[in-house]
């Protein structure tokens, strides 16, 4: 029983962190171009073709 006092908040906290990560990814536009993202993995690193 005493365990629960620690475990439940920890479980909720971890779930909440997952939720926050999802919210962040949504806000930063990572779902805007799902098809393109799939192809970009195969491309070169964008850092390689930064302009001087």
């Amino acid at each position: 029983m005493n365990m629960l006092i620690y475990l439940i908040p920890i479980a909720l906290l971890m779930g909440g962190m997952g939720l926050l990560a999802f919210l962040w990814s949504l806000k930063s536009g990572q779902y805007d171009d799902l098809e393109g993202a799939a192809w970009r993995i195969l491309g070169e690193d964008e850092a390689d073709r930064k302009k001087p």
């Binding site: 029983m1 909720l12 779930g15 171009d33 970009r40 491309g43």
Partner: protein, 762 residues
């Protein structure tokens, strides 16, 4: 389907390279600090290589700060500097760079970004309700597996605290919609959802406060979770198609060169053109507003406006409608109407009026809800009263009523329609057909008459040489030699369709706007063009009502050869008409072109009825007449003149080569050249209609089993949760069968058409 086969050339190639620096600057919007953002639509991008090619090509430009390709929407967003040290930059170089990389690029005005926001809000709500459902479910499982007394109470309180914000946040879509409907004294599927969710939360809270054994927090939250998935799928499907359709080029010009009184020229936006302004239109540009030609001679292509396929000669005094393409010579033109009063806008107004009629269509889900939700409410009320009066325990009666509401809650029903539609839309997308929203598939499944436009739909709007009458040998070579110097569609067809022979030498060649080409060799004068131009007044033209366009080659006023052109039929047109016939659909042709041309095409394709020389208004009237007779019309068309009819018909389809307004008006857009897309779409729509019916049957069947259990008061939270999830999973699995259908051959009863009618996958 390969994206490379998206041949939109015939229309788009004309507008592809005509963007000037001013026009491009007008289309981009300032970001501040000397930066501007330009949005371009690039319909050809289809893979990872395209992304990196374009991005690399753009990054190579000195003034481009950032370039990013969005493959889903087929768009490029480019941020560039307005000024460099060397001076003002020319943003049309961005278009040039993309063209040089081998892709067509068009200016693009982003539509309302609001839709994206709705999608993000829905996704957020799915995330929040999913998080809440998962955590509450964990706690519930502990309760079910034997937690009691203080522990159970604590778990229930924690569940209540997780559920409350989740319900308020994720449930607001349903609450809002339910409230809106209730205000108007009607009901829809969202009413029982909202009622069940709030009631079950309230009762569970009350139970928890009184140390009750059962609480329904898990049920109410996971119910929301499932329903939100359905709603998000529905929304995403609509947006995906819309983004890609918007991503294609816009044909309406953005501005024009204004002739100032002092002789200079200035580029102004279309909205700023006033009546009486003189504007200059170069060859290859579109006419922005209705007006009268002041000076200059040219041929204009009205196919997008009227459907008439051959070019019309214009000179000073001719009236020209907006949307016409100026082909050969440059014109000075006086505006007689404002952009908002021009033909383009009239057609849009006609379209909006026609769309009002279709807005009365009610989706299957709404029709089901109209029957279903009163029944559910009544059932819950009856069980509440019955348990209350018979059992005397009103608290228990309340619990039973809530259980009935939860168990009958249209979770599976909410998924039944959108899941099938998303799967069907995906299937069609793979075949190169885009669906704008879910109700399109329902309406398409009901279609029983298909009305085709001619130019651009049944035909490619691309002339083809069909017959040569030569009087002297070698004249075809001379004609070919002359034609290579012109961009007129008939000249291009002549070059394309004659043999590649050595071209004779000419001393000089001139293109005479409104007439044709004139070449001089020594003392001989060759002319290629209309009969009157080539042979002067000595030639008596034949009946002007021939179904073919005619070009005459003459030497010193005596005709040497005549060339006859016909429009190219769209590949697969005859097969498509055959398949539609076999599937029991009537076919009809409505065209603005001459009756003889229309009859000729109808005969070639085996279309039942052909109507020619129709105005946009008459097309709408024909559609309305048919629907008054109880038919459901599928209109297939592409031009500006078809747009009102596309909007008025029960359901409509347009090729990707259609005018912007045509694509906006149509419910489905197909990218392949082949017209097979029409029967294919009907097959998928009919299958999805039958799957939707099956899903309704499954969902209702589930209710028939589950409701008695709930009314009997036996529904524990565990049973409710399991039953609800199972019904949803069954419905989703059933929807996925649509993909399996795809492997089987086409429309039923195609055997009559003799085997060739089997549906080909693109």
């Amino acid at each position: 389907m390969s994206c490379c086969s998206m041949d939109t050339e015939s229309v788009l190639a004309l507008s592809a390279t005509s963007s000037s620096a001013e026009e491009t600057r007008l289309a981009s919007h300032p970001l501040g600090a000397g930066l501007r953002q330009l949005d371009l639509s690039v319909p050809d991008v289809h893979c990872g290589a395209c992304i990196s090619t374009i991005e690399r090509a753009l990054s190579a430009l000195a003034f481009v700060r950032k370039a990013r390709v969005n493959l889903t929407a087929r768009r490029v967003t480019c941020v560039y500097q307005e000024e460099l040290d060397e001076g003002v930059t020319d943003p049309s170089e961005i278009l040039a760079a993309i063209n040089a990389a081998g892709y067509r690029a068009h200016l693009f005005t982003p539509s309302t970004p609001e839709s994206d926001r709705t999608r993000n809000q829905l996704l957020l709500a799915v995330g929040v309700s999913g998080f809440a459902a998962a955590n509450i479910m964990l706690l519930s499982v502990s309760v079910w597996s034997g937690a009691d007394a203080a522990t159970r109470d604590m778990f229930h309180w924690i569940s209540a605290m997780i559920a409350a914000p989740a319900l308020v946040y994720a449930g607001r879509f349903f609450f809002k919609s339910a409230w809106n409907v209730l205000k108007r004294g009607r009901t829809n599927m969202d009413v029982p959802i909202s009622l069940a969710v709030t009631l079950s939360y309230a009762v569970s809270l009350w139970e928890t406060a009184h140390h009750g054994e059962h609480a329904w927090f898990d049920a109410s939250v996971s119910l929301l979770f499932f329903l939100l998935i359905g709603r998000t799928l529905d929304h995403v499907m609509r947006e995906k198609a819309r983004a890609a359709i918007n991503g294609l080029a816009r044909l309406a010009p953005r501005g024009a060169l204004l002739m100032m009184p002092d002789g200079s020229q200035r580029y102004i936006a279309v909205e700023e053109i006033a009546v009486g302004d003189e504007i200059s239109i170069a060859a290859g540009e579109r006419v922005p507003v209705d007006g009268v030609v002041v000076s200059g001679e040219s041929d204009v292509d009205l196919s997008i406006v009227t459907g008439e396929s051959s070019a019309v000669a214009v000179a000073a005094g001719s009236e020209v409608n907006s949307g016409a393409m100026n082909l050969t010579g440059s014109l000075v033109f006086r505006a007689t109407r404002l952009a908002r009063n021009s033909l383009l806008s009239e057609i849009i107004a006609l379209m909006e009026a026609a769309e009002g009629g279709r807005a009365r269509y009610r989706r299957i889900a709404d029709r089901a809800a109209a029957l279903y939700s009163p029944a559910v409410h009544l059932l819950a009320l009856i069980s509440f009263l019955a348990w209350g009066f018979l059992g005397g325990d009103w608290k228990h009666a309340m619990l039973v009523a809530v259980a009935v509401l939860i168990i009958t809650c249209p979770c599976a029903l909410g998924l039944a329609v959108p899941v099938v539609q998303v799967v069907a839309a995906g299937e069609l997308f793979r075949k190169g057909i885009m669906v704008k929203d879910g109700s399109v598939l329902e309406r398409l499944g009901e279609a029983d008459i298909v009305a085709f436009d001619k130019t651009g739909t049944l035909t490619m709007g691309r002339p083809r040489l069909i017959r040569i009458e030569t009087i002297e040998n070698g004249s075809a070579a001379i004609a070919r030699g002359l034609a290579t110097h012109s961009r007129h569609p008939l000249s291009e067809a002549l070059v394309r369709d004659t043999d590649d022979v050595p071209i004779p030498f000419f001393d000089s060649i001139a293109e005479i706007p409104g007439g044709g080409l004139e070449a001089k060799t020594g003392s001989d004068v060759y002319r290629l063009g209309s009969a009157v131009f080539a042979c002067g007044t000595t030639f008596i033209p034949r009946a002007g009502d021939s179904p073919f366009s005619e070009v005459v080659l003459s030497k010193n006023g005596v005709d040497l050869a005549r060339f006859f052109f016909d429009d190219t039929l769209r590949p697969g047109a005859a097969e498509a008409v055959g398949q539609l016939d076999a599937a029991g659909l009537g076919t009809l042709m409505v065209s603005g072109d001459r009756q003889t041309v229309v009859d000729n095409t109808a005969r070639a394709l085996g279309i039942d009825r052909a109507l020619g020389a129709l105005t946009p208004k008459q097309k709408v009237e024909e559609c309305q007449r048919l629907s008054d007779q109880g038919h459901c019309v599928l209109m297939v068309g592409d031009g500006l003149n078809d747009a009102p009819a596309l909007a008025a018909a029960h359901v409509s389809m347009a090729p990707a080569t259609a005018s912007d307004i045509g694509r906006q008006a149509a419910d489905l857009v197909f990218f392949n050249d082949r017209l097979d897309a029409v029967p294919e779409a009907i097959v998928v729509a009919r299958r999805s209609a039958s799957l939707i019916r099956q899903n309704f049957a499954l969902a209702i069947g589930y209710n028939v089993l589950a409701v008695p259990i709930a009314i009997a008061g036996l529904a524990t939270p565990l049973i409710a949760a399991v039953a609800m999830s199972t019904s949803s999973i069954i419905v989703v699995t059933n929807a996925l069968r649509l993909n399996a259908f795809g492997k089987r051959p086409g429309i039923r009863s195609t055997e009559r058409a003799g085997g060739q009618a089997e549906v080909k996958t693109a």
